[in-house]
C-alpha cells in the first residue's frame, strides 16, 4: 500500500479521524494535567464538600465540575485520574502485545507439543471469566499497581497469541515461506522477515481495542476496591466513592463516568478506524 492510498483511506474514515484526534487530546491532557490543574487532587477543603458545579462562573480557578465528598475539585481529579488509567492500559497492552506475539509465533511456527501446551493454557485462561479471575487474584495477592498490571497481563496475552498463531499457521505453509526455506533461510530469519510483517496489521487493531478494554476492566476493579489504591485518583475509584451521593450530588459520579466513556469510545473508534484504513477487506 502506498502512502497516497493510505492518506485517501484516512480521509475517508471518519471513525479513524474522530478516534485518533480524541485519543491524542486525551493522552496530551493526561501528560500535562499536573501542570494545568487549578487545585490539589489529593487534599480537599471540607467546607467545599459536595459543592455544586459552578460552570465557568469562577473561571479556571473556580470549581467547574463541583467538588467531591471530601471537598476536592472534581475536574482536577478527573484530569489527574486519567493518568492512572493511561499508565495501566499502556503498560498492560505493551506487555501483553509483546509476550502474546512471541508466544503465538513460537506456538504457530514450531507446532507440536509446545503448541499444544500453550493453546491449552490459553483455553484455561479463557475459561475463567476475565474480571472475576483478575479480581480474585488481586484480592488474594493484595491490590497495588504492580499486582494489577500482572493480573491484567496474565489474561490479556491470550488474544494476541491466538491471533498470531492463527496467522502464522496460515502463512507457514504458503509458497513464499517454503520458497525462503528452500533458499536456506533459518527459522528466526523467516519469522522476523516473512511472518511478522504479515501480522502487524491485525495486531495493531487488536492492541487499540484492548486499550479501551483494559481501561474498562481497571475501572471495574477500582470500583470493587481491588484496583488502583484508593490514595491515587482513578475514575473507577471516583465513581465508587461518589456512589452513595448519587441522589444528592450526581456530578461526582457523572464526570469520571463521562471521561471513562469518552476515552474507551475513542480507542474503540480508533480500533475500528484502523481496520478501515489498514485492512479494508476485513470490514464487517
Amino acid at each position: 500500500m502506498n502512502s497516497r492510498t493510505l492518506f485517501r483511506r484516512i480521509r475517508k474514515s471518519s471513525f479513524f479521524l474522530i478516534g485518533i484526534i480524541t485519543v491524542l487530546i486525551i493522552v496530551t491532557l493526561a501528560i500535562i494535567s499536573p501542570m494545568i490543574v487549578a487545585h490539589d487532587a489529593y487534599i480537599g477543603d471540607l467546607e467545599l464538600r459536595l459543592k455544586e458545579p459552578e460552570g465557568f462562573a469562577g473561571g479556571w480557578e473556580g470549581y467547574i465540575l463541583g467538588c467531591d465528598p471530601l471537598g476536592r475539585d472534581v475536574l482536577t481529579r478527573v484530569l489527574i485520574g486519567s493518568r492512572a488509567s493511561m499508565l495501566i492500559a499502556l503498560t498492560v497492552v505493551g506487555i501483553t502485545l509483546v509476550t502474546g506475539t512471541i508466544l503465538g509465533l513460537i506456538s504457530g511456527y514450531y507446532g507440536g507439543l509446545v503448541d499444544m501446551c500453550l493453546m491449552r493454557l490459553c483455553d484455561i485462561l479463557m475459561a475463567t471469566p476475565g474480571l472475576l479471575l483478575a479480581v480474585c487474584v488481586v484480592a488474594v495477592l493484595g491490590s497495588n499497581f504492580v499486582n494489577l498490571i500482572i493480573v491484567l497481563s496474565i489474561t490479556g496475552w491470550v488474544r494476541y497469541a491466538r491471533l498470531v498463531r492463527g496467522n502464522v499457521l496460515a502463512i507457514r505453509n504458503s509458497e513464499y515461506i517454503q520458497a525462503s526455506r528452500v533458499l536456506g533461510a533459518g527459522n528466526a530469519h523467516i519469522i522476523l522477515t516473512q511472518v511478522l510483517p504479515n501480522i502487524t496489521t491485525p495486531l495493531i487493531i487488536q492492541a487499540s481495542q484492548q486499550f479501551g478494554n483494559v481501561i474498562l476492566i481497571e475501572a471495574g476493579m477500582s470500583f470493587l476496591g481491588v484496583g488502583v489504591p484508593i490514595s491515587t485518583p482513578s475514575w473507577g475509584g471516583m465513581i465508587s466513592a461518589g456512589r452513595e451521593y448519587i441522589a444528592t450530588a450526581p456530578w461526582v459520579v457523572i464526570a469520571p463516568g463521562v471521561a471513562l466513556m469518552i476515552t474507551v469510545l475513542a480507542f474503540n473508534f480508533l480500533g475500528d478506524g484502523l481496520r478501515d484504513v489498514l485492512d479494508p477487506k476485513n470490514k464487517n
Binding site: 479501551g212 470493587l224 457523572i254
Partner: protein, 306 residues
C-alpha cells in the same frame, strides 16, 4: 459428529483440571499461613502446628491438591470461614438469582438487538443504520458501574419509576438486567447487522426472490436464519462476560447473587469462598460453552452432517 462432541467434551475436562489448579494455587499463594489465619493471634506454635496438620497444609503441594480435588469431586468445596457455612451451599443458594438476572438480561438484549440489527442491515447507510452502529460503539465502551448508576439516577432518583436496589418484584429486575445485557446487545446488533448485509448479497436470496417470495418474508424468514446463526456462537462467551459483569452490577443494585457474594468474599478475605466461586463460575462457563457448541451443530445443518 458424536466423535467430535466427545473430543470437545474431553478438551473441556482438561480445561477444568487447569482451572482447578489455578483456583487451588490461588489460595496457596496467599500471603501468610492459612493455619494462622484460622486461629486467633494469641495461638501458640503448637496449636498452629496442630491446625496445619488438620488442614493438611504441612504436606507437599501436590498431595494437598489431590486431597482438594478428592473433596471437590465429592461435592465438598470447603467451608467459608466468614459465614461458617459450606461454600457449595452458599454458592448454590445464590446461583438462581444471578441466573435469573443474566437470563432476563440476555432475553431483553436479544429482543432489542435482533430487530435493530436486521433493520440496520437491510437499510444499510440509512439513519437507523448509523444510529445502530453508534449504539454498538457505545455499548462496547460503557462501563457497567456507570451505566447502572446513571439508570438509577434517571429512573429511580429523578423519575421514581423503578426501585434503585434490592430484589423481590419484577420492577427490581429491570435495571440490572438492562445493564447486564447491554454489552451483549451492542455485540449482537453488530453481528446481526453485518450478517444481514452479507446474506442479502447471496445468490440464494435473489433466487428466493425470483420464486416470488415477498421481500418481507425473505428478510424475516430466509435471510433471518442465516444472519442469526453467528449470534448463537457468541452466546457461550457472553455467559463469561455476564459473570464478570454480575460482580459489579449486583454490587451496584444490591442484587443477592453470585456477583455480590464474590464482592463480599473479597472484602472479608474469605479465600476458601473465593476459590470455590472461581472454580464453580469457570465450570459453569465452560459447560455453557460446550452446550452452545453442541447446540450449534444441531442448528446449523452445514456442521451437523459434515
Amino acid at each position: 459428529m458424536l466423535q467430535k462432541i466427545i473430543r470437545r467434551a474431553l478438551a473441556t475436562v482438561v480445561v477444568l483440571i487447569g482451572v482447578s489448579i489455578i483456583a487451588f494455587l490461588l489460595v496457596r499463594l496467599a500471603p501468610g499461613d492459612p493455619a494462622k489465619l484460622m486461629l486467633p493471634d494469641t495461638a501458640t506454635e503448637e496449636t498452629i502446628q496442630a491446625m496445619r496438620e488438620k488442614m493438611g497444609t504441612d504436606k507437599p503441594l501436590f498431595i494437598q491438591y489431590l486431597t482438594y480435588m478428592k473433596n471437590v469431586l465429592k461435592g465438598d468445596l470447603g467451608t467459608s470461614y466468614h459465614y461458617n457455612r459450606s461454600c457449595s451451599q452458599l454458592i448454590f443458594s445464590r446461583l438462581p438469582s444471578t441466573a435469573k438476572l443474566a437470563g432476563f438480561g440476555m432475553l431483553l438484549s436479544l429482543c432489542f438487538s435482533i430487530p435493530l440489527g436486521m433493520i440496520a442491515g437491510i437499510k444499510k447507510g440509512s439513519f437507523i443504520d448509523t444510529l445502530s452502529m453508534f449504539f454498538a460503539m457505545i455499548g462496547q465502551s460503557m462501563s457497567h458501574v456507570w451505566l447502572g448508576l446513571m439508570l438509577i439516577l434517571i429512573f429511580a432518583v429523578n423519575l421514581k419509576w423503578l426501585p434503585s436496589m434490592g430484589t423481590g418484584t419484577f420492577k427490581h429486575m429491570i435495571m440490572p438486567a438492562i445493564v447486564i445485557g447491554f454489552q451483549f446487545s451492542a455485540l449482537a446488533t453488530r453481528m446481526v447487522r453485518s450478517g444481514m448485509i452479507d446474506v442479502l448479497q447471496e445468490d440464494y436470496i435473489t433466487a428466493t426472490r425470483a420464486k416470488g417470495i415477498s421481500k418481507f418474508k425473505v428478510y424475516t424468514k430466509y435471510a433471518f436464519k442465516n444472519a442469526l446463526l453467528p449470534v448463537v456462537t457468541v452466546v457461550g462467551s457472553q455467559v463469561g462476560a455476564m459473570m464478570s459483569g454480575s460482580m459489579v452490577i449486583e454490587t451496584v443494585f444490591s442484587w443477592p447473587g453470585i456477583g455480590s457474594l464474590t464482592t463480599q468474599a473479597i472484602y472479608n478475605r474469605d479465600y476458601q469462598l473465593i476459590q470455590s466461586i472461581l472454580l464453580i463460575s469457570a465450570t459453569i462457563f465452560v459447560v455453557c460453552n460446550l452446550l452452545v457448541d453442541i447446540l450449534y451443530t444441531f442448528i446449523d445443518p452445514r456442521i451437523s452432517f459434515n
